[in-house]
Symmetry: C2
Subunit: 364 residues, 2 copies
């Protein structure tokens, strides 16, 4: 049986044509030599302009480091910030790559659960209790991956107050799905200017711009940390392809049209998934505010909740889903949600419809 | 005064048109999504085919990891091989990035001088004496950077014998300038099949293919080390842009025409530099076998050899060269040659002619 890949972090959209054209134009101008390690000025200025226009947040272009994707930006940031033994607090569920990225930089991940029953809201009291003298960093993923949760300005304000309470605590805000929010707006943590000496933002073009294969991300960080990250990029790898960055700059300039198109298309799919999932009572879900994942709680399909189930672990359930109906999903075990799976809905319409029929056949 | 950049490691050639066309064709097929972490099969197979055809060295495509440039390949290799305190032996002069790459992986660089008076030949006895129980790795750069030295098969054979003497010693052969050898042939260390469990080769497209801004390199290494490097790339950065790799694959297939063209062009320039340098008796040089650098020994222009000279350090000489006649060169201090500089001759003809006139005015 063919397997429909619902586990991937990639959408069905093509790279925006404006990005391809600008890239080709740069190649035509022979901008194929080494670019500046810190990034192409036209991309750094386009991004600075973006935060000024959309967030009213002044960010100097010099504070933006262009990296080989957002994962690389996070790695450079953690390498520049953490010392062995430092604790890093993150809400669970979290992006599956974080534990290893933190471990590689000598840090120790401490998680605070956010529950689907409460819409993955931040439990500030729980968070506060996990902060110790060894806590160096708090990681926020906004919009959430896998949850699709977008934090309100009021919620972010509470986190900002927490940072004020703990003057040595840094914050990393991973905002890579920010163009795909169905209400059209994600508040960047850059909003809190008075905390800018302890706040970093990571972002990139893979998700909101459907440019996953372009490998372009960026880091906005306090200057001392940014300088270390920039040095590290120079020493260990060098900067990003300048002609690809020209494409990313054009995409940034056309972001509103691109995002409008992506969101409208994705929202139709999101509504279809909601409509179908409502007919599968054993799968609990929350409606994502952004991005293209649903997080499905499958504990009603597992022992002990369902004594008749052949499955104890979510991995067994997911393996049967793949074997029996050809659907591959991502198990939540590595994302801090041990009885849930992540499924993407960024698929061509007929493929998504087929996937939902298969899911219903399996889980009803 | 305008400054002519003789310090850069980049040639005046445009990226080969076949690479650009293949890349654009891949973008047209929307190959703009995440590619495989280990590399695009068509590039890995093209490279395997290349070593089979050119070196008669069978390398499975599965043993080739595509990385974000050769520097990144070296970093992944060293991270996968070295433990803190391991010693790494290299001939001096060496590529300026090696000391920091080794340091970042916890290793300690130990150098063995190779002298211009002896054509930068390997002094095997000196090399043998530097090998201790802590020596994990020997680094060979062939063709040499900055020296342009190409080792004969007989010389490489001697190094192979040394490896047989020390059964725990690994070897990394950096062969990134291998397409630019004026005799048309560089022997890869992959030739020695019986040592393949301890030999790694790093290479890339920046130099021999004039694709510096594409950021594509590769690592061929023993499987256990390669697997660690591949895991590390996945965890910390993810794989290289697939559509760029399509361009690199096409360049590999057309390598003989590309290299023929580059070498013919560069050789004309090399002859011009030789002719001019012969009229500057205070600058000693060797004729490079490959690549586009001359290494100039400037000790005759410094104190104490020239008591009338205002300069003690090569940095002072190079600063005056830039200030007085607008030539920027790379000081050898960070390359293990404290009284020499590296100058590139991969420049448009009229620029190179102007540079040589300026050099003669300064150094005569």
């Amino acid at each position: 049986m063919d397997v429909i890949p619902l586990h991937l972090g990639v959408s069905h959209f093509h790279t925006p044509a404006v990005a391809v054209m600008a890239m080709q134009e740069a190649v035509g101008r022979h901008n194929t030599y080494y670019g500046p390690n810190e990034g192409l000025p036209e991309l750094r200025y386009a991004l600075a302009q973006r935060y000024l226009e959309d967030e009213n947040a002044p960010v100097p272009a010099e504070q933006i480091l262009i990296t080989h994707g957002a994962k690389h930006a996070i790695h450079l940031y953690l390498q520049s910030l953490l010392h062995p033994g430092d604790e890093v607090v993150a809400l669970a569920p979290y992006w599956f790559a974080f534990p290893e990225l933190i471990r590689q930089s000598g840090g120790k991940l401490v998680t605070v659960p956010a529950n689907p029953e409460e819409g993955y809201a931040i439990n500030l009291e729980d968070l506060r209790q996990k902060i110790t003298p060894d806590t160096k960093l708090l990681i926020l993923t906004n919009p959430g991956n896998p949850t699709g949760k977008v934090y309100s300005l009021a919620e972010l304000q509470q986190v900002a107050h927490l940072l004020e309470e703990f003057p040595n605590l840094h914050l990393l805000s991973d905002e890579i799905y920010d163009g795909l929010a169905y209400q059209g707006r994600v508040n960047s943590f850059l909003h809190f200017e008075h905390l800018r000496d302890r706040v970093a933002v990571v972002n990139g073009f893979s998700k909101s711009f459907a440019m996953s294969g372009w490998r372009i991300g960026y880091l906005i960080a306090p200057f001392d940390i940014l300088h270390k990250a920039t040095e590290l990029q120079l020493k260990l790898i060098s900067g990003v392809s300048p002609f690809l960055q020209a494409g990313a700059a054009a995409a940034t300039q056309h972001r509103h049209q691109i995002w409008q198109h992506f969101r409208t298309d994705l929202d139709t799919r999101r509504q279809l998934v909601i409509q179908e999932l409502e007919q599968m009572p054993k799968l609990k879900f929350t409606v994502p505010d952004a991005g293209y994942y649903f997080t499905l709680q499958v504990d009603d399909c597992l022992q002990p909740k369902d004594p008749a189930s052949p499955f104890q672990l979510v991995e067994e359930w997911a393996a049967a889903l793949k074997d029996q109906v050809g659907l591959e999903v991502l198990c939540g075990t590595k994302m801090g949600m041990p009885t849930a799976v992540r499924m993407s809905f960024a698929l061509p319409e007929e493929v998504l419809e087929s996937a939902l029929l298969r899911l219903k056949a399996f889980a009803s």
